[in-house]
């Protein structure tokens, strides 16, 4: 694949072959990001929000529409750096739709009396006069929109990166804006900043592992392109210790992003500290992007070393499921609980990944989509439940909520049941798909562990319902704020998908199985 041919100095520069049609969604997003930055730079403050929303939604929708026109494309392009294949397109689509929902949440400004979910000025000191003034003047940090767009473009690129180096760049494009966004909450800013710091430092730490792993793999295969690595692995089966260690370190970086134990500890802190809208967006999309990359690396690059990584992934999956589920039990903060839940869910998805079969890939994809919609919906609900200090995330403040607001309580209960994997919700079909794939691949005991973990996880999902519906409301000021159309749409979409994928999953199941495999 190396394009450096044995030629003389006079070799003319041959243009790289790029299938712009196939990567147009990525380009649209990147372009929109640039436009968005220009909007920040050039337009007066008052008009920015409207224009930014226009750009963001326009870009997302345009990218989606474009994506729909290229569903049949299966191509490796940009000199082997990008693979647009079925799973990539599917995950790109899912990321885009979920990003759309995330954008809706982030655009919401009728929940907080003083503005949207982000600090009026992230640079102002928490509790300072500056902050008060900016808030009182209704400043909005519209810079979040270009950051958001870059993050989305990073994700979309991440799932289709066929070259480890590009994957690294995409990882950073995805992560850096998220580090920033995590630190910009309007309320509880100290927590938010702490989240950003932890996320950033640990994220940087993990990407150091990733790139070092890439270096070692490069040392082994003389290339960073996954198919090349795969063919080198088959070509020289011995002497693979470099590739082995490199793969391990790459996995550290990716497992960090999917929040697998023992690389999970950033998750609760970041999920809790970040603005809820960002948490919802991040929880849904990063999980998809990271799993997409993880599966591509494992299946395309290191498929030949399956027997090396499967036992290790077994242990990680088991730990992830159990630790996530068990710790979540004793959480009293609902965002934190959902964070641990996301860890446990990552474990369940890993079960599908480990199956290393078409069914496993399809199952994991389905699970990711299902999980994404449910979790973003759940965070949307959390953003609605507020008291005078902002969101009331402590579980005790949710007592009796379902009785006072049956609709919101009911929808949240639906999300909880979905995450718990109760039939007729998307979560059940997701679990079913990955378990089926795992059993078909002979990982029966893994499934049994997963079953036990599901039960433990069931406990804390169910406990939320207990608090909302079975507990007498105390004398407190928690109330459900009526959101604007933004959050309402996101919420409705999350609930609808959770239900529809539970009751009539066939179209999506077809989609994920027709997506086929990663191309090499």
């Amino acid at each position: 694949m190396n394009s450096i041919a044995a030629a003389t100095v006079d070799v003319p520069f041959t243009l790289p072959i790029v299938d712009y049609n196939a990567i147009a969604p990525i380009l649209i997003l990147l372009g929109a990001g640039v436009v968005s930055v220009l909007v920040e730079a050039l337009l007066p403050r008052g008009s920015r929000r409207f224009i930014q929303l226009f750009v963001v939604f326009g870009a997302l929708i345009a990218a989606l529409v474009w994506l729909c026109t290229i569903t049949g494309v299966r191509v490796v392009t940009a000199e082997g750096a990008i693979a647009i294949d079925g799973p990539a397109l599917l995950m790109q689509g899912a990321i885009l739709v979920l990003a759309l929902l995330g954008a809706l949440l982030m655009a919401e400004r009728s929940l907080d009396p003083s503005g949207d979910v982000f600090a009026a000025r992230a640079s102002s000191l928490p509790g300072s006069e500056d902050e008060k003034q900016f808030t009182a003047r209704g400043y909005l940090q519209t810079e979040v929109w270009p950051l958001f767009l870059f993050a989305v473009s990073g994700m979309v690129l991440f799932v289709s990166a066929n070259d480890l180096l590009l994957m690294f760049v995409a990882l950073e494009v995805m992560s850096l804006p998220l580090y920033l966004l995590a630190g910009m909450a309007r309320r509880r800013r100290l927590l938010s900043q702490e989240a950003a710091l932890k996320y950033f430092l640990l994220g940087a730490f993990s990407s150091a592992f990733f790139i070092y792993g890439v270096a070692l793999v490069y040392g082994y295969a003389a290339s960073t392109q996954l198919p090349v690595i795969a063919s080198v692995l088959t070509a020289k089966p011995g002497q693979t210790s470099l590739a082995l260690i490199g793969m391990a370190l790459i996995l550290v970086g990716l497992l960090f992003k999917v929040a697998a134990v023992p690389f999970h500890q950033w998750t609760p802190d970041v999920y809790q500290g970040a603005p809820t809208a960002v948490t919802g967006f991040m929880a849904a999309t990063v999980k998809i992007a990271a799993f997409g990359a993880l599966m591509r690396v494992l299946y395309v690059g290191f498929g030949g070393m399956r027997w090396d990584w499967v036992p290790m992934m077994w242990i990680i999956a088991i730990l992830t499921m159990l630790v996530g589920s068990i710790i979540a039990i004793s959480q009293s903060d609902i965002k934190r609980m959902l964070a641990y839940s996301s860890i446990a869910q990552a474990g369940f998805i890993l079960v599908g990944v480990i199956a290393a079969s078409p069914a496993g890939l399809a199952g994991a994809l389905f699970y990711l989509i299902a999980y994404g919609f449910t979790t973003i919906g759940a965070f949307a609900v959390i953003s609605l439940v507020r008291d005078e200090s902002g969101e009331a995330t402590n579980l005790s403040k949710w007592a009796g909520l379902g009785r006072r607001s049956p609709l919101v309580g009911g929808v949240f209960a639906l999300f909880m049941l979905g995450l718990a994997g109760i039939p007729l919700t998307s979560g059940f079909i997701g679990k079913f798909s990955v378990f089926a794939a795992a059993i078909a691949s002979g990982d029966t005991w893994l499934v049994i562990v997963a079953v036990v973990a599901s039960l433990i996880a069931g406990f804390f999902y169910v406990r939320v319902i207990v608090v909302m519906f079975f507990t007498e409301p105390g004398p407190q000021t928690t109330s459900v704020v009526v959101p604007s159309a933004f959050t309402t749409i996101a919420l409705a979409a999350g609930a609808a998908v959770t239900l529809v994928l539970g009751i009539l999953p066939q179209p999506v199941l077809e989609l994920v199985s027709n997506a086929g495999l990663f191309i090499r």
């Binding site: 580090y179 920033l180 100290l190 710091l197 070092y212 270096a215 290339s223």
Partner: protein
């Protein structure tokens, strides 16, 4: 001399960077340690490029530098923000989020 020595050097630097991340409390030093780890990766890339006889490794190192530069900017901005609201650059101090 075995050219692998470069790689071994890079491994040692990588590990030292990791130690730095784990034992230092000043966020900036921690971050510098991360940079050290990235540099170790770069050294490995460069040495491997020579061993493998293609320039991809050097390009990779180049990208790592760019990424690191961007990361530094973002990281330092975050650290400055934290410092401003807490008047401390220790990464142990922001410890409100736990358990």
């Amino acid at each position: 001399m075995n050219p692998a020595n470069y790689i071994i050097l890079s491994a040692i630097l990588f590990s030292l960077g990791a130690i730095g991340v784990l034992v230092r409390r000043n966020a900036i030093i921690v971050f510098m340690s991360v940079e050290l780890m990235l540099n170790a990766a770069n050294l490995a890339f460069v040495a491997f490029a020579r061993m493998n006889g293609n320039l991809d490794g050097q390009v990779a190192a180049f990208f790592v530098m760019v990424v690191a530069a961007a990361e530094v900017v973002v990281g330092l901005a975050i650290i400055v923000t934290i410092f401003r609201s807490r008047r401390s650059a220790s990464i142990d101090e922001p410890n409100l989020l736990k358990y």
